[in-house]
């Protein structure tokens, strides 16, 4: 796969500099790796559960986040209470990282002396996870009360600083909206930031250009993360764009653009931390291009993965971010295979329990009259 190693592209046109990627062993970040891993595993089990339900016909549609966990969990590890998350359909990792305090759901998952990369938001993680499952299943208790599908919803908990704006189906459309969330922070003279995920296909839209241009002209506290899995539905990058990489487009907007290995959560987190810091200090937006693998079809049940040449697909599957981080954890002597298996079982059991509970919840009232206008 044509995946450059960690490199960055500055807006000065200078040659890419190598970012301090896998320095985690030197900086004592085995804790960071464990934290990333826990949320990645929770996300993987989340997706595997729905993929299974799709196969059995219990679910009509599913878009899988498998393969995107390292990039999304690491990105959301760089934001805090009061920041805005604007997500797409392969960002379960960012949502779960932002919503859930995994220690409260799986006690003793971390050693007691562990220094967390980011603090949880507070509030009831179990309830959030349950409502998220209801949302996925179109139930009354979901965040849109059954009116919108999967990740097409907003969830706000002002008391816990949770600001999450979901997607519409039109790809790229949320870029200006997310930049608008950043504008509201700038107007309020707050140091909060907004992050937004898109796929590489959405970089071809007009909203990518318009949103990034205004965000840079106005120096908005905004980070746009391209999850480049090299395939938009069935369209390869060679038919999507003619430039070498997407991060370098940032030059044209007068903002930094960074290209990073999205399978490496530590490298991704460092890039995001720098971008968030930059945004918080009023220096404006950053474009991040995170390379990830294409592990699944556009949606479950379509045959778009058939378009991916065998060798390329093999490369993606061999670089599964879940396998990579678990190998690092074991090879680094941080945890044992048995412990990883124990965490996997606990995450799977939690997801199973929550999803089963959501399945038993009522469907929306057939005549529910949802208003088109705010009162």
């Amino acid at each position: 796969m044509d995946q450059p190693a960690n490199s960055s592209t500055s807006n000065t046109g200078a040659p890419p500099e190598v970012s301090p990627a896998a320095a985690w062993l030197d900086t004592g970040s085995d804790h960071a790796l464990r934290e990333m891993h826990a949320y990645m595993r929770l996300t993987r089990e989340w997706d595997l559960r729905y993929e299974k339900m799709f196969k059995t016909g219990a679910l009509s549609k599913w878009y899988s986040s498998v393969g995107n966990e390292a990039a999304t969990v690491a990105a959301a590890s760089a934001i805090e209470k009061g920041d805005a998350l604007v997500s797409l359909h392969r960002d379960a990792g960012a949502i779960l990282r932002h919503y859930v305090d995994i220690e409260s759901l799986i006690p003793e998952i971390f050693p007691s002396n562990m220094n967390l990369i980011r603090q949880p938001l507070g509030g009831d993680s179990r309830e959030r996870l349950f409502r998220l499952a209801c949302q996925m299943l179109g139930r009354q208790h979901g965040y849109s009360a059954g009116h919108e599908r999967s990740y097409h919803y907003n969830h706000m908990e002002p008391e816990h600083g949770l600001i999450h704006i979901g997607m519409i189906s039109h790809l790229g459309s949320m870029i200006p909206v997310a930049a608008g969330a950043a504008l509201s922070f700038q107007q309020q003279k707050s140091d909060r930031v907004a992050i937004n995920f898109i796929g590489e296909g959405a970089t071809s839209t007009g909203d990518f250009h318009e949103g990034l241009n205004i965000a840079s002209v106005w120096k908005l506290p905004f980070i746009l993360i391209i999850e480049n899995n090299h395939w938009a539905f069935s369209t390869p990058t060679s038919q999507q764009y003619a430039c070498d990489n997407l991060a370098s487009r940032a030059i044209g907007y007068g903002m930094p653009g960074v290209e990073v290995d999205g399978n490496d959560p530590i490298a991704m987190h460092q890039v995001m931390q720098e971008a968030v810091q930059r945004a918080r200090s009023g220096e404006g937006p950053t474009l991040v291009e995170a390379h990830v693998g294409r592990h699944r079809g556009h949606s479950e049940g379509d045959d778009s993965l058939d378009q991916v040449p065998g060798d390329e697909l093999k490369g993606y599957l061999e670089n599964d971010p879940m396998d990579l981080i678990e190998t690092r954890l074991v090879n680094g002597g941080i945890v044992s295979r048995a412990w990883l298996e124990e965490i996997r079982e606990k995450c799977a059991a939690l997801i199973m329990e929550v999803v089963d509970e959501a399945m038993s919840m009522p469907e929306p009232e057939p005549n529910s009259d949802r208003s088109i206008h705010a009162e």
Partner: protein, 332 residues
């Protein structure tokens, strides 16, 4: 902040708009303006002249030429507590921001229960020989999009009152202001109550027993002129002006038809699927047994707007064309 109101006699329509924006910005610090050339230059029509000095560059923002990006950014900011007012330089340009408006902003509340207090000011309409892309009346595009409110005032006092209400409204409001009226229409601003949202309004501007006329924007002025001519012929037209198209206040229309048994809708927008078609359908649903003739529509033809003023004038319903339309409606 005080909710001060401009009270002045003989106010131009365009000045009423400036007053409304200024008064609401003084009243509510979350109101901010965005648009092309609105800051130092004061906008293509100078409606925001001087605003940059009074309110500063954070609240009065020039945007790049990016209608979609601007509407998207305003929507995101509105969700999180700002009250953006966008000036489309010309209403026609809204087509470049269509998706953000009809899919993101309009559907946001229904999808997510997050309010989007957003106003888009739309300098629209023809009569000035401005050609196909500076003359259109595109209200139907938005009346067909659930979640949006649509305003089209004909008089300075309505323009002032409804712009302030639109800014206070927690929903996206498309506010059509007619360019032909900017420097022609004058009314007193008397300090009437400002509602905190836009509600349906159908106002009887002239009473009559023979035919109910429905119109909005510039056409209401031509309709009133035509009603004078008809009065000289002994025909009494009841003129209903719709300063708010959506939500629609249908009841006054139905009550009027019960009395007159005849109805004609006049609009400057093109004919097919214009709002007149929807009004005709609604009237048929509710009042067909009260009608003594078909619902008449007097409209622009299904054509773009020509540059040549004479060619354009032939297409916009004139006072004579309106009178003829009514005479035919009354003969049937």
């Amino acid at each position: 902040m005080p909710n001060e109101m401009t009270i002045e006699e003989n106010v131009l329509y365009i000045e009423a708009l400036s007053h409304a924006l200024r008064d609401e910005m003084r009243h509510d610090p979350s109101v901010m303006l965005m648009g092309q050339d609105i800051a130092g230059h004061g906008g293509a029509f100078k409606i925001t002249k001087g605003f940059l000095d009074e309110f500063g560059p954070q609240r009065v923002r020039n945007t790049p030429i990016a209608e979609s990006g601007t509407i998207g950014i305003a929507t995101g900011a509105a969700i999180l507590g700002q009250r953006p007012v966008i000036e489309m330089q010309f209403a026609d340009f809204i087509s470049c921001g269509f998706n953000q408006l009809v899919n993101v902003a309009a559907k946001m509340y229904w999808r997510t229960e997050c309010a989007v207090p957003l106003v888009i000011r739309m300098p629209g309409g023809g009569g000035m020989g401005a050609g196909a892309f500076h003359s259109q009346n595109v209200e139907s595009w938005f009346l067909h999009s659930p979640g949006l409110k649509v305003v089209a005032p004909a008089f300075s006092d309505d323009a002032y009152r409804l712009l302030r209400s639109a800014i206070k409204d927690p929903n996206p409001v498309i506010y059509f202001e007619h360019k032909f009226l900017y420097r022609r229409e004058r009314t007193d601003l008397k300090g009437t109550e400002i509602k905190d949202r836009v509600v349906g309004e159908a106002n009887v501007r002239r009473s009559g027993k023979d035919l109910t006329s429905i119109s909005w924007g510039w056409m209401t002025h031509r309709v009133l002129e035509a009603a004078e001519i008809m009065a000289a012929e002994g025909v009494e037209i009841e003129v209903i002006d719709l300063p708010v198209l959506s939500p629609l206040d249908l009841d006054p229309i139905l009550q009027s038809i019960e009395k007159t048994e005849h109805v004609a809708i006049t609009h400057e927008a093109t004919r097919t699927c214009g709002f007149g078609a929807e009004l005709a359908a609604r009237i048929s649903d509710e009042a067909i047994w009260n009608l003594d003739g078909p619902v008449t529509r007097i409209t622009y033809p299904d054509s773009p707007s020509p540059f040549n003023k004479k060619l354009e004038a032939d297409r916009i319903p004139s006072v004579d064309v309106i009178c003829d339309g009514w005479r035919q409606a009354l003969q049937s």
